[in-house]
Amino acid sequence: MISFLIRRLLYSIPVALLVIIVCFLLVRLAPGSPFSSERALDPATQQMLESKYGLSGSLPQQCARYIGSVVRGDLGDSLKFRGRTVLEIISQSLPRSLLLGSIAFLIAIGLGVPLGSWAAARNGKTEDRWLNGFALLTLSIPTFVLAPVAVLSLSFAIPIFPPAGWGTPIQLVLPSICLALPFVGVCARLTRSGLLETIGADFIRTGRAKGVSEKTLILLHALRPAVLPLVAYAGPLAASILTGSLVIEEVFAIPGIGQFFVSGVMNRDVFLVSGVVLIYCILLLFFNLIADWLTAILDPRIRLQS
């Protein structure tokens, strides 16, 4: 177990490094400068800024300099938000995205799994068809439609929740539901198909023949192997949901990290983009590791060493 963890962690380091090298090069190769604005900057000032931020010299030199500082734990300064370090931006905005994301994650799993199990138990009946329809609907409505509709209905038509803002628990309700809803559908469908497959398996038939009640059969015996596809899916889901969403953060004015993925690229703020991509990469690797570990716990046939 421990050697598995150590091996996986060691594998992660070159992956993370490769990701930020590619990210750094892509942003630097994109046309346009991080320092340009509608008002023209004189070339001397431009050069001054480039050398100040370590963006002078050839591209490999710049990249090597950057990787060197990342290895020393310094993610560099933001080029757009002057006087702010990337670490500072991430440490202020990531916890907010993590909080919102973990609530959304719990909603997605907490609603998706029971709904999927229920649908599997009523396979082919009206409830199952309704639930399938619902899952398809949540999957197909994009967040940029869902979020404004939620605000319109639950902040204006029936004024229950504030339409935007950050600071009180009630302000978390609408954004976390909107962030979670598309994933509720996915989780429900994954659980349903997983369960249906397991329910047809030999050991369930044996259980049924032994007279085990249907409830015990599903909850105790079938669910455990049935959620395996869901666990594999939950790893990347957790990473993406926890790093925020541009649309949700913009619509609900949430000061999270999601916006920096897009605004950083737009501004060619290379250190900021590489920094947030690194965080995303680390989270992704971490949750995939957790997912693999959970899979091994849930499925005794899988050995971590293999």
Binding site: P31, A40, S93, S155, F156, Q171, P255
Partner: protein, 528 residues
Amino acid sequence: MTICRGIPGLTGLLLATSLLTSCQPRPRADLVICNGAEPQTLDPALVSGQLEGRICSALYEGLTRRDSRGKSVPAAAEKWEISPDGKIYTFHLRPDLRWSNGEPVTSQDYRYSWLRALQPKTASPYAEILFGIHNAEAFHQGKQPADSVGLETPDNQTLRVRLNHPLPYFPSLTSFTTYLPVHQTTVERYGDRWTQPNSWVGNGPYRLLDWKINDRVSLEKNPRYHSPERAQLHRIDALAVTRASTAFNLYSTGQADLLLDKGLVPSLMLPQLRGRPDFHPGPLLATYFYRFNVTRPPFQDVRVRRAFALAIDKESIVDKITRGNEPIAQALTPRGIADYNPPEGLPSDPATAQGLLKLAGFPEGKGFPRISLLYNKSELNEQIAVEIQAQWKQVLGVEVELRNQEWATYLRSLDELDFDIARSSWVGDYDDPNTFLDCFVTGRGNNRTGWSDATYDSLLERALAEPNAARRLKLLAEAETILVTQAFPIIPLYHFVGCLMFDPKKWNGLYPNLLDEHPFSEIGRVKK
């Protein structure tokens, strides 16, 4: 499995702790403003945007300041004298000026701050706004030492400024963000991070209480300010909100009191909002225009540029697309600058346009090369481009391809003159036509057309040296006439209209004005 069972409990605990730490409800500020995007900096020497400038004008006080109608009034300087040739300004500071840490503000502080903004090391995006000062440009380029710059401090209360040319608008220029003072010891001690709330020092009516990334900048009344009664509110929160619909939702539900940025009112709602008592539109000192790349055929030919300009029906753009009652632009400088009458420009004239194109060798657009119209990605820019593309097709028979680029790529295309026609806009920095016309002097960074005209350059040069205000404005009007009726490196389309949203029964001290200046220190609650 025991570990598995522990996970929900652990997650719950983690969630509860982060809920408590992350979501600490704080009391609502006296005034909550939707201010636009996250400020890039609060260091006045580095500010280049309006939303940062707005916060800076509350945090720092220049020699003069803008009042709620955008007029320049004395601030840190209580009076000044001008030498007979108009080139030397002697400012006398108020004796009771204090930094927020209690130290006195002196004339040396202003000298230090202006030199700091000029220093190449500072890399101020607006350094050139100080170039009117003697030797400032040479110092910025590293050709002259700091001592040679025309700034003297005979005593703590006096600042003597020597200018290259008589600039009648110089006192009002000193209210501009780049001219605001910074506290030398703080800047030197904390470097780039001096604008963080725990190190920040300023001299404005408000002081920096808190600054949360992408969330808000909180200001509170500065008790050390020389006239504390001017700051009428105890706390102001400037929210970072970029999406117009979100800002409007916050405003509609009372979570924000004021929408300040012109981009924060959803344009689709403008027709319904017009006529509401809390909707306050007003013209701005800003122009939306198209620029030609005059270094490339066919736009090297002035007849082609003129034909393209005359073929546009500007009315239809403001009626059908922008819909904010924008005045159409026949000149680059908007109307409303005191004593300045911009040239009338040329009205839409499809027949002449067709004739000109024929003269240039393209009758009914035949044989016209493929050209493109560049704009940065935005719905409005696209709608305008599509409309104008159709008009050119209809009137001139010319096919224009639309070329849409995201912001940084678009700016690079402009800088490298990699376009045929490009969308642009310009916002005036101060209320003088020079802020617009200077862009098109030969070789200026903002020229971005490749256009050069010796007469135009010399008219602007002469205007700079002209001490008589009326004659000076006349020279500038002559130059602008060349720009918009003879040479056509640009086609002005319309002037922007700003809109504020606030309840006039609750708030006073806010007036739409040309410069879109709404100093926080002027805003107060209506007394019942």
